[in-house]
């Protein structure tokens, strides 16, 4: 499991992380994908 909180203006990283985790996450040993929560970076 990896948990990453991103802000609205970091949306591009959120989308990338989401896509990669869904595609490669299991192979890299993650059992779950990113959780999103709005935070002020």
């Amino acid at each position: 499991m990896i948990r990453v909180a991103v802000t609205e203006d970091e949306k591009e990283y959120r989308d990338k992380l989401k896509e990669y985790l869904e595609r490669y996450g299991k192979e890299k040993g993650y059992t779950n994908y990113v959780e999103y929560s709005d935070c002020r970076g």
Partner: protein, 235 residues
Amino acid sequence: MLNIAIVEDEKSCSDIIKKYIDRFQDIYGESFRCSVFSNGLEFIDEYRPVYDIIFMDIKMPLMDGMETARRLREADTETALIFVTNMARYAIQGYEVQALDFILKPVKYDEFEMKLKKAVKYCLGHRDDMIAIEAKDMICRISVREIMYVEVMDHSLLYHTPDRIYESYGQLKALEDKLIPYHFARCGKSYLVNLKYVSEVTAGSILVGNDKIPLSRRKRKEFLQALADYMGGGF
């Protein structure tokens, strides 16, 4: 060229091992440099992590092979260790010191060849992942995969691994250049993090193993980019 150490008190046995190593070189075209030590104490006393493969007897005067191996692992977690012994019951305890294998005496060439092949394969697979750390009282060799993060503290670098912390002198910038290809990223002025150990990123910190590390505002986007590249990139 691979460096081999033979730690053996019986000269007849170390001679046989050397002869078998020469035979292996002739057959497979590998190149080895051999050093022989007649007991554990002599070997470990001024140990430097330069050996790729170590053949170690267990029953030796002054310091036995198992104790020597324990002390060896404090300085070198990666070298391929093979016990050569007639004490099978002790050899199977080799897992305690991450021994790669053991060979029973009297040593036969066929078995020796098989174990040396295994060790060579192990070494060639791990070679590029090693880093030498000049700690205060010794030089240690560890795999970069073991490093969770490196922290700067009072002009020292602290290498945090799952088992222990290694302290050395050095500059984080120089280390960063070396470790970037292994998926490390800066999360602030004083920290270099192995991305594979990151389990949480919040507004101002990241979780690496059980340690919470500050994530600077300035480095945040760069860090997220590196994390995304790691997720989507090579292993």
